[in-house]
Symmetry: C2
Subunit: 230 residues, 2 copies
Amino acid sequence: MSNDIYSTYHLYPPPQLSEIKTTVVYPATEKHLQKYLRQDAYLICETGEDYKNITLPFIQSQSFSIQWVYNILEKKAEADRIIHENPDSSNGFILIPDFKWNQKQLDDLYLIAICHRRGIKSLRDLTAEHLPLLRNILQEGKEAILKRFGVAGSQLRIYLHYQPSYFHLHVHFTALSYDAPGCSVERAHLLSDVIDNLELDPQYYQKRTLTFALRADEALLKKFQEAGKA
Amino acid sequence: MSNDIYSTYHLYPPPQLSEIKTTVVYPATEKHLQKYLRQDAYLICETGEDYKNITLPFIQSQSFSIQWVYNILEKKAEADRIIHENPDSSNGFILIPDFKWNQKQLDDLYLIAICHRRGIKSLRDLTAEHLPLLRNILQEGKEAILKRFGVAGSQLRIYLHYQPSYFHLHVHFTALSYDAPGCSVERAHLLSDVIDNLELDPQYYQKRTLTFALRADEALLKKFQEAGKA
């Protein structure tokens, strides 16, 4: 059974695997149940203005707890699972296996890099200022995975989610051969593309229209509908 | 059994479906067999220069036949399957159900828009000059699918592949709820993003590094390896 403070990890769409795996979410709240029920999804085209007027106020109005992230960063939890750490408070991060990966085979390799710096909620907050952090994650993350698991960078899909599952910047590392949940074009953004875009325009992610899917029951969808944008 | 001139349609990775479907490829060449065998894949980061020096000469050296595409555009084949046509020779296109979709249910809706204009090999050839064509495909494609199948644009994933399966510009329309093959971030490019990028920089796709996966047996991988780029 999973500790509820990690429930965010377990709330991803269930992965499609050739062997049956189960994830026990306990205690399961109404929100967990809704997440697992199949529902219609709608594509949202969020402009920079939509983010400021709709999404950001919504995020701020919610009490999303990310204490479990801080517990990892402060070594109060999961310290024995850390694969790599760059301890720099501005440009450092912790690399840790995702809970969906049992580490027994490389087919569904899945790790997460969590940045030390606080307050970067998502892709939308990134500017050229964050390039050293992002380059560290890309370079050191690949090196650490090669060293520990023998998987080369050319066999890794390295990306951010937008919308993310939790609002503290993190980067996904999955095996390229693994059809990982959330790696489709309407949710995943390759870290190498993010770096190139910020080099092209430091305000790229403040201005750019970002497209993502929301399920019919998600409160953010209602906000977009109320604003006449969905 | 499929006609060999359409084999390109059938050479996609087989879709993951809850019901069993089969695609018979006959006659099956060595190339077909290789495509269906599970193989390691490698991520290539193709710069604009790499495209000019490695990929473009490779494409030009191959005798990829796209006569089957011209047959559709000239109504010599498939004319009864056309869902929508804009006949303009510069900015028009034909919208047709993909062969992987049997049209019996909307869960795995899959259509292809094929542009009338010849000589646009892929995303790499697109410039601001092609914006009217791309906007027509986005707008009219959504309208036609709503009218014929009752599926709204907000429930469609509309994207290009890079690398594509064949070198005549085409756009994929799949149901958002369908985990379609080839919609992951390392292959799919949302049409709305492509339009935004060309509006931002008319030469975006000539200059930009594009990331894609190649299987171990693909001849293009060998070309990148020989150039010391993979």
